[in-house]
């Protein structure tokens, strides 16, 4: 029995503090994913909190055929989607950055490099926010959270082939929008010139 399963069992045995440990364990990771999905730090926090609450309330229904984290993500994405339907997502990277504070500065970089880095992050987030909801979720789960196709398919309740297809289309769209950023990062312009 892994740690999650142990904590779940303890929670079901009447020790809610065990669920608190699960919250502490996954809240940042979930938040880092959700904040890109909903585009707002404030909404992301609400979604994460609601996902944990629903997970606690429905913990008895968790079959443990998948990882707790996958199950939790599924809940979180459902919450995010339902909230998005009630209130159309106003994905604003600026608002996200203002709400979440400044980007963590690279201590090794100089002031100008820090500014450039912040600018690149802004452009990348804007490009992600410009994706459709279905494409954005796939890209975030893959690139931000590092989920495999199988897990993405499980979280989003999609066939793996659909995940692969959506991911590829999302990447092509991002590549188009982030030409400038990618060229600066060691990008393809130089490689194209070399070819």
């Amino acid at each position: 029995m892994n740690d999650d399963a142990q904590l779940i069992a303890e929670t079901l045995d009447g020790k809610p503090a065990a669920f608190g440990q699960l919250v502490q364990k996954y809240q940042d990771r979930l938040y880092n994913t959700v904040v890109h999905v909903v585009g707002s730090a404030e909404d992301a926090r609400d979604v994460v909190q609601e996902a944990f609450v629903q997970a606690f309330v429905k913990l008895e229904t968790f079959q443990q055929t998948s990882a707790f984290y996958t199950w939790l993500y599924r809940i979180a994405f459902n919450v995010a989607i339902s909230r998005g339907r009630r209130k159309r997502p106003t994905v604003s990277v600026e608002r996200c950055r203002e709400a979440g504070g400044r980007e963590p500065a690279d201590q090794r970089a100089g002031p100008s490099e820090q500014v450039e880095q912040e600018e690149r992050c802004r452009q990348v987030r804007e490009a992600i926010a410009a994706l459709s909801e279905e494409h954005r979720a796939v890209v975030i789960l893959r690139e931000i959270d590092g989920c495999c196709y199988e897990t993405i398919a499980e979280i989003l309740d999609l066939p793996v082939g659909t995940v692969r297809s959506r991911l590829h289309r999302a990447r092509l769209q991002l590549r188009e929008q982030l030409k400038d950023v990618l060229s600066v990062d060691g990008g393809f312009d130089e490689k194209r010139a070399g070819k």
Partner: protein, 561 residues
């Protein structure tokens, strides 16, 4: 291979190749493509750079520990039984989030939808209210009062329109109540009729605004002059909203397919103001029950219920005595609706005649064909009231001490004679009425008839539409001519008696004034009584008919004094 080379950017295998999510076969194919195509190699490089860029985004972290808040909210939700609720915004949030949630909640456009609808409805009411006020505003010295609702369809569901109508009518009731109170307070104003009417109006409005508001709709139609098509149209419109079907216009009433009890006897009485309780006592004494026991609104407030009688009396069998006001118009005319067997009715009429100081005149007529509950307004308004109007007691022109009452005061001691003295012209018109009375449904007052100036006929159409009353008002001469023409094509009443005893007796009862008009009054009275007895004998005693007592308070000295 050629297709793969041609659509390199669209080939999702390259993306999966970057992610290491290919099967062995797919891996081999992609490697062949990469070896053969610079574009494929460029795409793979771009995808890798993109992934690197995306993965290099700074990791966001929450600056708070959610565990305590999560457990608190989860416990609260489980205790409240909202386990699957997604109403996270409705939950208590941390202090920092409450204000944001509040602002978010009240800045949602959706939350303003229903308040906007409510405001729109209120504005609509405000716009319509003056129109209703003009329609139902009483003339100086008059009051709009209501005792109890008219009988309605028992299964008629209350609709929004009905609520709106009731609401607006309630205001009218309140307005009438205020006016009544003002009239009572300001006794320095000479108002001979105000006392009696104030008494009549008192109880129901204080007891049941709902019932009174329902009744006031009827009284509004009753009191509205026939020459106010706008008001009638408005009333029909309101009822259309309430019932989902339009209230038939008088001319269109024949098209109504609604079933209702059979023909209705309308007993019109000029009474002393203090006689209304007496009439109710007579009804109670003769154990005459309410006509429509299923009417819920009627059950809600029996306006003139005898003291000590329970609310459930309306739904009980008819052995429970109860008279009830159907409506009362601006002149204080009270309509008591009841169901009575012919014997009961005859007994009541005898009782009423026995008190000439209270019941100063008594006329009787019949509205043939069923009258749907919802049509009562129209019947009373277009059949009864015009007939009364033609008798010369127009509310606008008449003082409370009406000409009818004045004539009645000079009449003989017998109530029947009082009635005849009060409406002498009616007797002159009897031959024409009698000739038409053979036709079913003709209005046939046995003791008093409409005046010669005009006749108001409430008659059913023949055949299928026979059960629907039609109301037409025409000049006396034209009516007589038409009645005579119709009579020539119809069988004689006496013949009908021979073939169909019950119906024939009824027809004879109707045709009674024909002979009576030519006979001396004593003979006429005897004929009336004889035919009445025949009619009562021919009718099953247990059959109840709807009777509406129209009581018109008249001031003035008692004719006997």
């Amino acid at each position: 291979m050629a297709d793969s080379m041609k659509n390199v950017p669209e080939n999702e295998l390259f993306s999966a190749y970057v992610d290491g999510e290919l099967t062995a076969a797919e891996q081999a194919e992609v490697e062949r493509l990469l070896a053969a195509s610079p574009a494929a190699r460029q795409l793979v490089d771009d995808l890798r750079a993109l992934s690197s860029t995306l993965q290099s985004l700074p990791v966001r972290k929450l600056d708070v520990d959610l565990s305590r808040e999560v457990l608190r909210l989860a416990e609260h939700r489980m205790l409240s039984g909202r386990g699957d609720s997604d109403a996270d915004l409705g939950e208590p949030l941390p202090e920092s989030g409450r204000w944001r949630a509040f602002v978010r909640r009240w800045t949602r456009p959706r939350i303003w939808v229903w308040p906007a609808v409510a405001v729109a409805v209120s504005l609509l009411l405000v716009v319509l209210q003056p129109e209703q006020g003009r329609r139902e505003a009483p003339a100086p010295g008059e009051k709009i009062v209501a005792l109890a609702p008219a009988a309605r369809e028992p299964s008629e569901p209350p609709a929004i329109g009905a609520l709106v109508e009731a609401d607006s009518d309630r205001r009218l009731v309140e307005k009438a109540g205020i006016e009544r109170a003002a009239a009572e307070a300001g006794e320095d104003k000479p108002g001979p009729a105000s006392e009696g009417r104030g008494e009549v109006a008192k109880a129901p409005m204080a007891k049941s605004p709902a019932a009174a508001s329902s009744a006031i709709a009827d009284s509004a139609a009753l009191s509205a002059p026939a020459a106010a098509p706008d008001a009638a149209g408005l009333s029909r419109k309101a009822r259309t909203e309430a019932t989902g079907q339009s209230l038939p216009a008088p001319a269109a009433m024949a098209e109504s397919k609604e079933k209702a009890p059979d023909e209705v006897t309308i007993v019109y009485c000029d009474v002393a103001p203090e006689a209304i309780p007496f009439v109710e006592q007579v009804l109670a004494k003769r154990r005459i029950a309410m006509a429509d026991a299923k009417d819920q609104r009627a059950r809600a407030e029996p306006a003139t219920r005898p003291e000590g009688e329970g609310k459930g009396v309306r739904s009980r069998p008819s052995d429970k005595p109860s008279g009830r006001a159907l409506a009362i118009d601006a002149r204080g005319v009270v309509c008591l609706q009841a169901e009575a067997t012919p014997q009961q009715l005859e007994a009541v009429l005898a009782d009423l005649r026995s008190q000439p100081e209270l019941v100063r005149s008594l006329a009787q007529t019949q509205v043939a064909g069923p009258v749907a509950d919802k049509d009562w307004d129209s019947v009373l308004r277009f059949a009864v009231m015009p007939a009364l109007k033609q008798k010369g007691d127009s509310p606008a022109a008449e003082s409370p001490e009406s000409s009818v009452a004045r004539r009645a005061t000079k009449a003989a001691a017998s109530p029947a004679e009082v009635s005849r003295k009060a409406f002498p012209a009616a007797l002159q018109d009897r031959p024409a009425q009698a000739q038409s009375a053979g036709g079913k449904g003709a209005m046939s007052p046995p003791r008093d008839a409409p005046p010669p100036e005009a006749t108001t006929t409430v008659a059913p159409k023949p055949s299928a539409a026979n059960r629907e009353p039609t109301v037409q008002s025409q000049s006396g001469a034209a009516a007589r001519a038409e009645q005579q023409a119709r009579n020539s094509a119809s069988p004689a009443p006496q013949k009908a008696v021979e073939t169909e005893p019950a119906v024939g007796a009824r027809a004879a009862f109707r045709s009674m004034p024909a002979g009576a008009a030519l006979a001396p009054q004593a003979t006429q009275q005897a004929m009336e009584d004889k035919l009445t007895r025949e009619f009562l004998a021919a009718s099953p005693p247990e059959v109840k008919r709807r009777v509406v007592f129209v009581l018109r308070p008249v001031e003035g000295p008692d004719p006997k004094r």
